[in-house]
Symmetry: none
Subunit: 224 residues, 2 copies
């Protein structure tokens, strides 16, 4: 899951970044609207946290840009408590949620999870695949109630493929979800992770779940 934080205050930005990264999200941050738009053009974000008070290009313009180009990003508008006008404008322009400063971090986390569930049309936090269960909330995987011990990156890859079952995820897609915009890895790193996930699933008698689409990437067959 990848997030973009657009927030003027460096203090808050940094603290949100660390907190969300800790929860397993991949996080890009920026403090101004112009850069935010540049980021949005290059990457895909599941959720954008958007403060409306920004230098250079204001938050509403960023919101317009998102709605214009990237319908798949959910937007949570963050704003100081007294800016009621902002609030109205934000919802009119299609913000998906709204938080007043100061807000509770757990509240934010809950709303992010809620938007992600909505995006992927999940009715609860667990996806079932025959014997396999992927718990989005816990970031854990189990086969027949036996936990599969995946590392964070391994889990992220499996979750991405699971949530996009039936679609081929390219190396770019995967890299986008695992790494923030400052990182850079060879595709072999992803191959190695895939290999590890397959090996660990195989130890639980789950084979051929992750399939290779040569020249494109990886996918999991959709189940009805």
């Amino acid at each position: 899951m990848k997030l973009l934080i657009v927030e003027d205050s460096q203090r808050l930005r940094k603290s949100l970044q660390l907190g969300l990264k800790h929860l397993g999200f991949t996080v890009d941050t920026t403090g101004n609207g112009r850069e935010a738009i540049a980021y949005l053009r290059v990457n895909h974000y599941d959720v954008v946290l958007l403060d409306l008070m920004l230098p250079e290009v204001d938050g509403l313009s960023v919101l317009k840009e998102i709605r214009h180009r990237k319908k798949e990003s959910a937007v949570i508008v963050i704003s100081a408590k007294d800016q009621v006008d902002d609030r109205i404008l934000g919802l009119d322009l299609g913000a998906d949620d709204y938080l007043c400063k100061p807000f509770d971090f757990d509240e934010l986390h809950a709303r992010i999870k809620s938007l992600i569930r909505r995006k992927y049309q999940l009715h609860n936090n667990v996806m079932v695949f025959g014997k396999l269960k992927v718990d989005i909330d816990m970031r854990s995987v189990a086969v027949n109630k036996q936990a599969v011990n995946l590392t964070p990156n391994e889990y992220s890859i499996l979750a991405l493929l699971t949530m996009n079952q039936g679609k081929v995820m390219t190396f770019n897609n995967i890299e986008n979800h695992l790494y923030d915009s400052y990182s850079s890895v060879t595709r072999n790193a992803i191959e190695a992770h895939i290999s590890a996930v397959r090996r660990k699933l195989k130890a639980h008698q789950v084979t051929d779940l992750i399939k290779t689409r040569r020249g494109f990437g990886y996918y999991i067959d959709a189940v009805e």
Copy 2:
């Protein structure tokens, strides 16, 4: 599907080429307008990506040339954000779409697919042929919901014949669609691919779909 990329910046050109090739397109590239016109005179392209800022011969002249000679190519004009005049001129001259730099690669991909759909008058991404389904988006083929495991070249040939059903595709047509301008193969390579496609379809009880027009090439009968 064959594309021509006309783009001054070598960096961007190369990255687009690799990215699009990976998505299954056949790609020619050039960095100047003179060469672009030469390419256009020799090959057929489904889509041309055209940067208007070019050395030697400017982009608008290339666009005129395309519209003058080659009505079957769709054109996506690429331009820096502030060149609004270019935009107006481009659309006046009949660009089919327009993208500002920097643009999102997936956005580009989506627009290319959209133009291809329009060109072949497809209403969605799946072409149905009795039991046979060809999914343009996924580059996959299925018979009675059973996937037919085609290699990239095999798929490309079948897609070409399908999208041009009722028309005979010559060896030249097919070679044009499968290979960029720097490759060269014997016609037997294509015969071998056709043979493989027929064999794989036959395994799914689909026979006599691809017909041979002796001395000309291959075709699939149009269905109403």
